[in-house]
Amino acid sequence: MHKNGHDAASVVRDTIYRATMALDDQKWEDWLDLCDENFHYKITAFSPEINKDMIYLQGQRKEVETLVRLLPKHNTDHSPLRRHTSVYTVDVADDMSTASAVSSFVIYQNMLDGVNSHLDSGESRLFLIGKYHDTFKLEDGKAKFVKREVRLDNRRLDKGSHWPL
């Protein structure tokens, strides 16, 4: 790969990992700072039960901003989510203006509430698994998320979540 292409790929990788940390820490604004004005977010899954590709949540940047801003108004499970992300592939476009990446993720719920916090708090449970399919805009040595599809393998979602994944 061209030296610059190599650099661009590591910028993309770095951005994905920074997003993981911001999401883990519920620093929604830091996360959105990594996203373009035209960012589109989507949680999807395929259901073999009904044999359909499904969308579980989607929105443009403005909708995601509203969603995270209104979070304090909602009752939410308090157990923080901890993501383990591995970037598998990064493909930088020939003109170096865009890139796409596929990462695998595992999300653990680090129990605070649990079913009975007296028993469950402090334990970590597997929450969700899947892949991030990300598209980036490359500009001034930076990568900005233009699209993130969170493709889940789960259809059993128990209590679900109010938070972006």
């Binding site: 009904i50 059993r156 128990d158 209590k159 979540s161 109010h162």
Partner: protein
């Protein structure tokens, strides 16, 4: 009253008999076992939607009261239900949640339900069509005509849902069972074919009735920011609960102001047929099914009780089969905004019932659960639950506020089983 001591805590509340129930109804293993036998093995359950098996030879698997079930569409387009149990030595016939019998399997032929164990094969009507080395093993003592599958009562009805009863001779026809509560929705959901676009499930450590209670009472609006800002107005508080025979309840409609939740939009443009814009109907069927039509999307919850303190809830979302891709996407967005696993309300509802489940584990001290709000049968009146437990008492022959006592002794002259 200040905080109460133990005997004050256990004292009967100053409410009428039907206005509170005993928490053992939610926590006792014997009560649960009786519910499986006396209720779940007798009633009609909507196990899936016909659009989940659109083509001949498509199948779905499910279960009721622990009994595994196959739903299959025949070449004649009929949807039939069978126990998912091989008559030979009890192997589960089909292990996948869905698929098509058009494909052959390693042990058997296309167009057959094949048991992988010893290769017995069945057709879409449940007849046994092949027993491996039949003559050699059974001579003339047993033949394939003797070993058909166990067929189950099955009807496609009320918006295309597939209803199954484990009872060969249900005391009530499906029409008589649910026709009246569905009256308010029938024109909308039967005008044209519907299609499932959403499926997910939750397994929650709580009693199945606590989930149904939540679907039957709106007083818990206070935990939903969304409902407070889009709902609370005079028309909302005038919304009526209607009780129907067999323990069902319908919550009457009103116009929801979705725009009052920032970022949400009116659903008027995509209303279901014959439904005025942004109306919201809810049908709660005994013993634990819910149909919820919010203008542009229909939601259906079905409970599968797994124990006194465990329930699986399956969530489906439906639109019109003829939707354009754009229309469908809008319906899906409307559905997900509140009801999806990452939506605003469902998460809160599930946290609520999980919390109740925590305080009502088997062997926790029995206590009273209050169902005593009377508000002229309007939205925050707890009539839905009172009506449900009245029916529950009959089916179970147990008093909801004293579940070790038989219902019929306190209600002489009335038949213990409402079904009769």
């Amino acid at each position: 009253m200040p905080a109460r001591n133990h005997s004050q805590w256990l004292a009967k509340p100053k409410l009428e008999g039907g206005e509170w129930i005993d928490s053992r109804v939610y926590s006792d293993q014997n009560v649960f076992d009786d519910e499986m036998e006396r209720i779940f093995k007798k009633v009609w359950i909507p196990v899936c939607h016909e659009s989940e098996l659109p083509k001949p030879y498509d199948f779905r698997t499910t279960s009721i009261a622990g009994e595994p079930i196959i739903i299959a569409r025949g070449p004649d387009n009929e949807v039939r239900a069978f126990l998912n149990v091989c008559p030979h030595r009890g192997m589960l016939l089909e292990r996948r949640p869905s698929g098509s019998f058009l494909e052959g399997q390693p042990s058997g032929n296309p167009k057959r339900i094949t048991c992988m164990f010893h290769a017995w094969q069945f057709d879409m009507k449940g007849s046994c069509v092949y027993v491996a080395r039949e003559k050699e093993g059974y001579q003339d003592r047993l033949c394939k005509e003797d070993v058909g599958l166990r067929r189950l009562r099955c009807e496609v009805k009320f918006g295309g849902f597939v209803w199954v009863s484990l009872d060969d001779n249900p005391k009530i026809s499906l029409e008589d069972w649910a026709g009246e509560p569905f009256d308010c929705l029938r024109k909308s959901i039967d005008a044209e074919p519907l299609e499932v676009f959403h499926y997910h499930k939750a397994i929650i450590d709580t009693n199945y009735k606590l989930w149904h209670d939540t679907n039957s009472e709106f007083y818990h609006d206070f935990m939903h920011y969304h409902n407070r800002v889009t709902g609370f107005n005079d028309a909302y508080f005038a919304r009526k609960n209607f009780a129907f025979k067999h323990g069902h309840v319908v919550v009457g409609t009103f116009e929801v102001n979705y725009e009052n939740y920032e970022g949400f939009e009116s659903r008027g443009a995509l209303s279901f047929p014959h439904l005025p814009p942004n109306q919201w109907y809810m049908v709660d069927l005994f013993p634990g099914m819910n149909f919820n039509l919010r203008g542009s999307a229909l939601r259906c919850d079905v409970v599968t009780p797994l124990g006194p303190d465990k329930v699986m809830i399956e969530f489906r979302g439906l639109g019109l089969k003829r939707d354009t891709p754009e229309e469908r996407e809008t319906r899906i967005n409307h559905h997900n905004s509140i009801w999806g696993p990452f939506g605003r309300n469902l998460h809160e509802d599930l946290i609520g019932v999980a919390g109740q489940g925590t305080t009502m584990r088997p062997h926790t001290e029995p206590r009273q659960i209050l169902h005593g709000r009377h508000e002229n049968q309007t939205i925050h009146d707890e009539i839905g639950m009172r009506h449900y437990y009245d029916e529950w008492g009959r089916w179970m022959d147990r008093l909801p506020n004293d579940p070790d006592q038989p219902w019929h002794e306190r209600n002489p002259g009335e038949s213990a089983e409402a079904a009769e």
